[in-house]
Subunit: 315 residues, 2 copies
């Protein structure tokens, strides 16, 4: 442990990790927007019972948009409006006292709305700003406006950005994008779901050397991992734009217990990425999420989180 600074954000973390340069998160989707308050309480209690014992640094709560502007293909799971992640955190997950990373699809909000939220957010809140998923989508606030608002309103609230390792394959400039976002105030990065480990390693490597050349300390790269327990989940992942390698696809479709197979793969991916980032000497982490709402897939994601915690020497 060379460095005692917690990786994501110095102030926000009670430093539960043995190595504060290695982060573990768990990702959640809020309940549907039309859920009754009683039912929200119920769901939140069940969720807290699941995540409370997890050796994680923070919960991640997504801001769901109907991304049909990005993908004209029919959605394999129907889109339903979800509760605002900040509302769910404050009104539902009241028992959660560790940090929470609240995602913000900034284009959904007016600048004043975003400013108001930043001003009033509790102290355990961090945020990740996400730009529009397509350049044609009308944005009420652009990403650069949102960053400016954060800077003016509450620069102390830890700000993160998203990264797409697969985008690095064709363009080869994702690491420069990270450095730009870092200069704009991003203190950490959470990737979109990664199945292509080679792409993730390419990005981590290019980022590490570019940061070094620019005399910038690398910010934590948190890799999102999900499970894929069925053909339906596979098609949803692909609809979301996740690049699932052909050999993974084949096994999901052919193996007897795809969920168990997928969990072993995800753990192997975490081990490979952890080894590589430790070798590179950059802070990193994992964010485990389930894109499916099937109970078995969520429970497998919880089990995977424990296994990764062991890998990070926490459990």
């Amino acid at each position: 442990m060379q460095d005692q600074t917690p990786a994501l954000a110095p102030a926000a973390f009670p430093a539960p990790a043995r190595n504060p340069r290695e982060v573990l998160l768990f990702g959640l989707t809020p309940p549907r927007a039309d859920t009754t308050p009683e039912r929200i309480t119920e769901i939140a209690e069940r969720t807290l019972a699941r995540v409370d014992a997890l050796p994680i640094d923070a919960l991640v709560i997504y801001d769901i948009t109907d991304e049909t502007d990005r993908n004209p293909q029919p959605r394999p799971f129907p889109f339903v409006e979800m509760l605002d992640p900040a509302t769910y955190l404050c009104d539902g997950l009241t028992g959660w006292d560790k940090p929470a990373v609240v995602y913000r699809y900034v284009g959904k909000y007016d600048p004043d709305e975003l400013r108001g939220w930043l001003q009033s957010a509790p102290d355990n809140v961090m945020t990740v700003f996400v730009g529009s998923s397509s350049s044609d989508a009308p944005a009420r606030t652009t990403l650069s406006q949102a960053v400016q608002i954060h800077h003016e309103t509450r620069p102390g609230l830890p700000l993160g950005g998203v990264t797409i390792p697969e985008r690095h394959i064709g363009r080869g400039d994702e690491h420069e994008r990270l450095l730009r976002k870092q200069r704009g105030g991003s203190q950490f990065f959470i990737s979109q779901i990664v199945y292509d480990i080679g792409a993730a390693k390419n990005l981590a490597s290019d980022y590490r050397y570019a940061a070094h050349d620019s005399h910038i300390d690398a910010a934590p790269l948190v890799f999102s991992l999900s499970l894929c327990g069925s053909a339906k989940t596979l098609s949803f992942l692909e609809w979301l734009g996740v690049e699932v390698p052909q050999w993974v696809r084949n096994e999901i479709l052919h193996t007897e217990d795809p969920l168990d197979w997928s969990r072993q793969q995800a753990l192997g991916a975490a081990r490979e990425l952890a080894d590589f980032c430790r070798y590179l000497g950059i802070p990193f982490g994992f964010n485990v999420e389930s894109v499916s709402s099937r109970r078995v897939e969520i429970e497998a994601a919880v089990a995977l989180t424990h296994e990764i915690a062991e890998l990070l020497e926490r459990d």
Copy 2:
């Protein structure tokens, strides 16, 4: 060990492997064509001293062409005409009594020349036919003519084909090409040098399921691995068309001992591919070669071969 049939070719192998479905080869380039007979003997003796103790199933001897028809970029190592691999085997490597895989760039030879060689080749010889590296290159014999000549002349001489896993990324049909070659008589495949392990796994997986669907037994996929101990070797690999992932490139250029790093990576790649092919239940193997003629790189390739032999439970 479900199957006692040696993987590459039943007749040719004394079955030294614990598992005959797992093959280990070592690749060599013949000396320059202008080498004196005395010097050829010297080189061959030194080579045999290196490879004789290797726990391999066969030597692979390449047929070198000046591939400038494929790549207009200047060659990082100068091209020199090399001795014919069959001549080198018979006149130089006389002490080698195990099988040898003699490569044939078929476009270099007249049909009669190829026929003559097939008729007179010693019994320990297997061959791999390679087509022209560019569709514009004038071929004295095409790949399909060569296969036909083999079929008419000496079908008992084990015939193999080449495969390019990276070609599978864009086109996605390399596995169909393998099945076609197999129907034409190919009994095994040797890949071009592989650094992109994801591409190799995609190919192995697609091939395994396509062979199963076509009721064909998968033929051994032999993955060629090489080391890369310097920036110069890296540029040669890239000139040859090998896809070196960005993270590997970065380390070759930045790490203190690239040769040692590269050996660890190659061993890790062999482990990952062996695990995966065993999981898939397909025969497979490795072919270790050095694209550089630097003594340290050749010696590291020998050391890597021993390490892979251990992985295949031979050493």
